[in-house]
Amino acid sequence: MKKNIAVLMGGRSLEREFSIKSGQRISNALRKLGHNVIKMDVNESIVENLNSEKIDLAYIALHGKDGEDGTIQEILEVLGIPYTGPGVYPNVLSFDKIISKQIFISKEIPTPPFYFLNTSSFRELGSSKLLPFIIEKIGLPMVVKPSAQGSALGIRIVNDKESLPEAIIYALSYSKKVILEKFINGVELAVSIIGKNKPRTLPTVEIVPKKKFFDFESRSGVGETDYFVPARLSPEENKIVEQTAIKVNNALKCNRLSRVDMIFDKKEKIPYVLELNTSPGMTDTSLLPMSAEEAGMSFEELVDEIIGMSLEK
């Protein structure tokens, strides 16, 4: 049945361009599926705009701030408009990597050991003096990243202690808190999960960046990264990975849709979970559509399933 679907895209986050690409692709698919599409940029008029149209469903094609931190979900809850992707609570939990990592630890889900520090603790409490202790505990190389930011913005791998301050300042340009995390040498994987009552995993994607890690440029540029689907894992390894992804999805109370990113230590057979994304990219080179295609779903079929379960009461 034809529905009025608002595609929420753009927004105020640093991932605006990504979001517009995702949103446009989703809008085209929705039109092909026979729906009426209303594209909406998420700005100061969003509440007014949502209110002025008769909307059956909001498709959240936002990435990062506002779209994946529970903000837009709460607005839609208040307005009583059904929306795609997980609800408010899972978004709040997953957007802050510190909170989600703490939950992983409490649920015995492997995650790389880490410490976090915030801007004011450096400026006012002399936290820079902690760095030698952190290096001693975590070791080098170390991953330095902002606590709340997507698309690998603000991330650096630090190999020596001299480069650490610069990487911390870089990460703190993107977020008030910085995570200093042990670098895990392993296979980078992304597991997409779909389904409302019985979530299922789609084929695991293996990411092999041509540079040393999957940074912003590797994510956005065609040819910068090689992807293998399904990942080159043994059936046993893949089972561990998929089970862990489902465990993460459940731990963060996610429903309908998510993507879990991890590094798999092949030697120890440990899947180290990095984060969960509640609004996975939907561009031509994004991981979720890639994974769905391997499962035999076209992009339109993927979008159709996402909206179908979001419209269910």
Partner: protein
Amino acid sequence: MSKKVTFDYWNHLYSNRTEYMFSSEIRDLLALSARPDIISFSGGLPEVRALNFQRLERYVKRIIKTDSDMSLQYSGSDGFYPLKTKLTEVMKLEGIDEVEEDIAITTGGQQALDLLSKVFINPGDVVITEAPSYTGALNSFKSYEAKIEGIEIDSNGMKTSILEKKLDELSKKGIQTKFIYLVPNFSNPSGVTLSLKRRKEILELAKKYNTVILEDNPYGMLRFEGKPIPTIKELDIKGDKHNVIYLSTLSKLLAPGFRIGWVVAPHPILEKIVLGVQSTILCVSTFSQRIAYEYFSDPVWQENIDKFKSIYSTRRNTMLKTLESNFPKGCSWSRPEGGFFIWLKFPKYLNTKELLADAVRNKVAFVPGSGFYANGRGINEARLAYCTEETGRIEKGIKILAGLVKEKIKLYKSFK
């Protein structure tokens, strides 16, 4: 069975030069600056709202009424002759005395740069630019696989002693420098003007090392203070062999939407440029050229330039004053006498790409310096355009930026 994902089935067909076409973090951050809530010091966007739209409407109506057949038709690849006549008059105001036959009209100054790159650069050829230099020019030269040698500047423009050393070094290795690219007036991005002494010296060096100068002068008529300095083209009068190729644009004198630029060059070079226009676009938009002709036939255009100058100088004054009273010690900036841009230098440790991420989150945008260098320098430098925003927003934006810079300096010092 696992398989490698193929996004682009045509990868094996692409030319090497497509390697220079990629997305960057900075580009995506700057894309945000198009949002109205962002105070943008990033793009050098002329204040087209200062134009008299009713007059423009009148020109267009007149063209449609009296000359629709011709103005909607293809035209000569060298450009619309009556517009060239007007351009000779415009150039005369800057001391350049040329005839219509010396001019080729292009689709914006950018196409002139592309065609000149095509005419001169073989892969691996050396070209010389100011460092920092205009990104659009650097990208054009890079796309033809040039090796770019950037020459340091100071408040008088390109340092000629360094230029001479470089030309000498290249010449001793048997390397012919293909051209020296300069924006001598209120340069993009630095805002710096090349002194008369150095203009003469660079011209002499070009002659000595048997190369040409690309003199790109988009901002020359937008001088708010100080005495105009002769263009290098004007200085290049001795002998029969001239070494200056002069480029300009109507983007700042009229509006960038018309996409009109022009080149003045020795005839053999000009012929190649015209052939280049022919093979790439056949001709520059006839309709745009017709409107531009009407615009420059109406004496009011010079009043418009005064209006532009008054707007830009007020904005520059506001930006300089706000920088002066809010920016912390350790930062310095250029004081342009015209044009669109101020160039900022921060303490060595302050990475402006990182500052941009912070700034955009706080609704201010500027362009980090590294994009204006061919070799990854400029990490602690930035370009601020004062031409686009109104004074209230300039003040607000600079104050926000100053606050962020102070915080960054404090954070950095906490590691000492």
